[in-house]
Amino acid sequence: MMGQPAVAESQLKLPLARALERDVPDIEYINDYLVENERTELLKFLTCGSVDDGKSTLIGRLLYDSNKVYEDHLNALIRDSRRLGHNSDDLEFALLADGLKAEQEQGITIDVAYRYFATSSRKYIIADCPGHSQYTKNMATGASNCELAVILIDAQNGVLDQTRRHSLIVSLLGISQVVVAINKMDLVDYNERIYERIREEYLDFSKDLGFAQTSFVPVAAKFGENVVHHSTNMDWYAGDTIIELLEQAPVRADQRFDQFCMTVQRVHHPSEDFRGYSGTITKGVLRPGDRVVVLPSGHETHVERIVTMDGDLETSFAPQAVTVMVSDKLSINRGDTLVSPSYTPRVSDVFLANVVWMAEKPLVAKKTYLFKMGARQVTGQVSEFVHRLNVNTQAHESCEQLDANEIGLARIQLQRPVVFEDYVDDRTMGSFIVIDRISNETVGAGMICDHAATETGAA
């Protein structure tokens, strides 16, 4: 039964490595491991690039070289590789990532896929995003929950329109850490000058995208060079491998604890004597006795109890899911926001937002859509377009509508006021999706940037 460890021992935490040395499981070591395992930080990152840049190959390599490929998956890989005409020495690592039949047959990634792996120091969720322009919606989907982006560039092609588009979406969705993997170095004779040229070109075009950290790695994903293991063919590169950069990347730590915020997801009234407000705390700390303001009504009340199945809490904080009971009989509904008195997000029925359009039918002004923000669904429309963003030049262009995969700054007019913040300040309070009322499809995604109103004078 006991086969090869699924994770290389060097990558295991010490207590577990010791536990696994024994034939009989050592409960104490397992418990030590589980305690450590629970504290392990999680980094969510996305991978994106143009078609054939080798994203899926890179991910296959990350999983394979960190030994997270199970034997039966590996057997399936060998079988699938043969089916597609590869021999078993030349595994098609992309097949580890491309899950849908159509993807394997066409050799492209169609839909965003989520992968899970762990090293000794971190847990990772990879959002593998497709590169086709018509699949930009999936890229935005993948990017929305990530903290870092790995952008692939084919060394033979250099920076393409797709690279620019992906980088811009990554930037718009608030990701500030970028790792640029310049792949297929094997096909350009591991030439340092080519790597340097692409690096400079990328730095030049991305200088206004607001990335706090941009790292570059020359990679040959097919052979695993500089993915997990250092390459011996590129001695001129003394920097980190992809996995080393992922291990070092700072995990989001910009939480504020002096301001409380929770949107009511559901009024919980299971019996006559119990009325509570269920929701997930998105900001700060809450204790019984705290004063809270209900937005948008502005009514004030006190917190009586913070209820969970594990007992009432004396202190609760983001991102806990709780049920709050308050001291006054107020009208509080799903979608209302409870905040500490010192926290004053905007309350308005008009704001500016960057909208990524995802549907074939264009976004037009004055047409009514549903806007879902947090737990609120409000009808509204675009009252006017401020500009469309040229994804290649980042230039602002005038426009009358947004077509699929276009991005633009628009003024949104809702039929009732909502509570919000700028996306750059608070992803939860500054994001929304647009839903078509007839098809029910999710047709757009928005990032509020109301400060642009004052900056551009568009107000």
């Binding site: 696994l20 965003v112 919980h268 904080f317 923000m373 999706i433 029910n440 995604a445």
Partner: protein, 303 residues
């Protein structure tokens, strides 16, 4: 000071799952929890209790009973149901039962289609459920890795993998037409290790078949099949032998493979899992029948 206000990895997963379940109950009129009696279902049920405490569960549990489940599973289910914490609906494809559709005379695909997939679809229609929670995780299988947390099913309960709704941040779109439904997977981001660790930490009750014990088994298609009742048909060269085995996944007993193991406690199971070289679904015979078989089943309306 902020270091004290930090959730562990499992606490974060728990909070995320509770958020998802509350969102469905707030937005849909008639949700149901697809309860398979397996460990993931047990975790799902535990999370649901947390999400709606101190109330009763605001939705029923639906168990599609193929009549070929392990006896231990049915006993576990019925014991749980007597506690009165939830309403349990048990649904069986009566036409299939009357016609004696069984996993011996029918190939695994056909059997599963009739007794499981068709039965589920009929039950969803009969009770007019508009949202159904499932315990699937994205780390289980390649096509699942591409499925959304809120996954739309058309009026035939089919999944269209090439036309999924974009899903951004944690803003979920549960808007549907009357004849459609949403499948919701609150455990999407959990891994198998997370599930076991959570069961251990929270003391969640699971079916005893997950723990190693001497059981009567036969070797079949590279795995151990439990002779669970007198209906088991033995091949001429097969004779049951007692082996220390346990199950990593549970389903219909003639189709669920056991592994040889001495792990009879949760830490031992976790230990074994960490050194295992075989991923979880391998014990399920139904997944091997055709390439990309799970994707095909899902498109047809399977979990």
């Amino acid at each position: 000071m902020s270091a004290a206000y930090k959730l562990t990895h499992l606490e974060q997963l728990e909070a995320e799952s509770i958020y998802i379940m509350r969102e469905v109950v707030a937005e849909r009129e008639n949700p149901v929890l697809m309860y398979s009696i397996g460990k993931d279902s047990s975790v799902l049920l535990h999370l649901a209790k947390k999400a709606f405490y101190p109330g009763k569960l605001p939705f029923p549990l639906l168990h599609v009973d193929t009549t070929w489940k392990f006896r231990d599973m049915i006993a576990f289910r019925d014991r749980l149901a007597t506690k009165g914490e939830f309403n349990l609906i048990v649904y069986t494809n009566e036409e299939g039962r009357d016609s004696d559709v069984n996993p011996f005379d029918y190939d695994a695909d056909t059997y599963t289609q009739i007794m499981k997939t068709d039965a589920l679809k009929t039950a969803l229609d009969k009770y007019e459920f508009d949202a159904a929670f499932g315990g699937a995780r994205r780390d289980e299988e390649k096509s699942r890795a591409k499925e959304r947390v809120f996954s739309l099913r058309d009026k035939y309960h089919q999944w269209d993998p090439s036309n999924q709704r974009p899903e951004l941040w944690n803003i979920y779109n549960s808007n549907i037409r009357k004849d459609e439904e949403i499948r919701v997977f609150p455990l999407s981001n959990w891994t198998e290790l997370d599930v076991w660790q959570y069961i251990y930490q929270q003391g969640i009750d699971i079916v005893p078949l997950y723990f190693a014990k001497e059981r009567p088994v036969v070797r079949r298609r590279g795995t151990w099949i439990l002779v669970d009742d007198e209906r088991m048909r033995l091949e001429p060269d097969e004779s049951p032998e007692m082996r220390m085995v346990r199950f990593r996944t549970l389903g219909c007993y003639p189709l669920s493979g056991a592994i040889e193991s001495n792990a009879s406690t949760l830490p031992e199971i976790i230990h074994e899992m960490l050194v295992a070289d075989t991923s979880e679904r391998q014990g399920r015979l139904i997944d091997h029948d055709t390439a990309a078989s799970m994707e095909t089943k899902k498109q047809e309306g399977y979990f």
